[in-house]
Amino acid sequence: MPAVPIADLDGVLLVTVGEELQDRTVAELQRELTERVVDTGARGVLIDISVLDVVDSYLARALHEIAAATALLAARTVLVGMRPAVAFTLAELGLTLPGMSTALSVREGMAALR
């Protein structure tokens, strides 16, 4: 059982991040996700972070690396559901995740990957 569930929805991998996200889990997710993208030939990855009320610089960098890695594997990563407080804190820290696609909800994220 993986620490973070990854669901394959019609060529899009949906990753639902849980509340308790540790650095170790993030590293595991990073590795597993790239493998799954290759295995399934997914065209997109949706990472739902709507339950997180903290995103630190480590996670921000990891998300960025995931997006870059999946892009090399021809899958686009979309970050979904970032909370207002999290978004503003990241902007304050200057972690604006340039080049990263974002969406308000899973539904919109799916639409963006269509």
Partner: protein, 116 residues
């Protein structure tokens, strides 16, 4: 789509309140575009200008696009002199053009009804 018209003097406190309500409303209404209209704002200091920029960046992180409209010529000059870089934020001169741009993003147009 959301529009938040800011009027009067913007200090750090007010801009913070505006930011919080804007970002929260984006979530409640699932708005894909937010227009921050500062036509009614006379002056902007460094803090406030930085704050506007961060608001726009935060909106983007959440999956919405933030357009800033109605920057007065004096404010534009001040911002340039302060070295505030709004490169990655869309700005429009008037609220009307921001609205038009927002409609475009949503794939909508406005046309007259029953014209013959």
């Amino acid at each position: 789509m959301l529009a938040i018209p800011l009027i009067g003097t913007l200090d750090s406190m007010r801009s913070q309140v505006a930011t919080e309500s804007l970002l929260q409303t984006i979530v409640t209404h699932q708005a894909r575009v937010a227009i921050l209209d500062i036509t009614g704002v006379e002056t902007v200091d460094t803090m406030v200008a930085q704050h506007l920029l961060k608001t726009a960046q935060a909106a983007r992180l959440m999956g919405a696009e933030c357009v800033i409209s109605g920057i007065r010529p004096q404010i534009a000059t001040t911002m340039v002199q302060l070295g505030i870089d709004l490169d990655d934020v869309v700005t429009k001169a008037r609220l009307a053009s921001a609205f038009e741009y927002a409609l475009g993003l949503l794939g909508l147009t406005v046309s007259a009804v029953g014209s013959r």
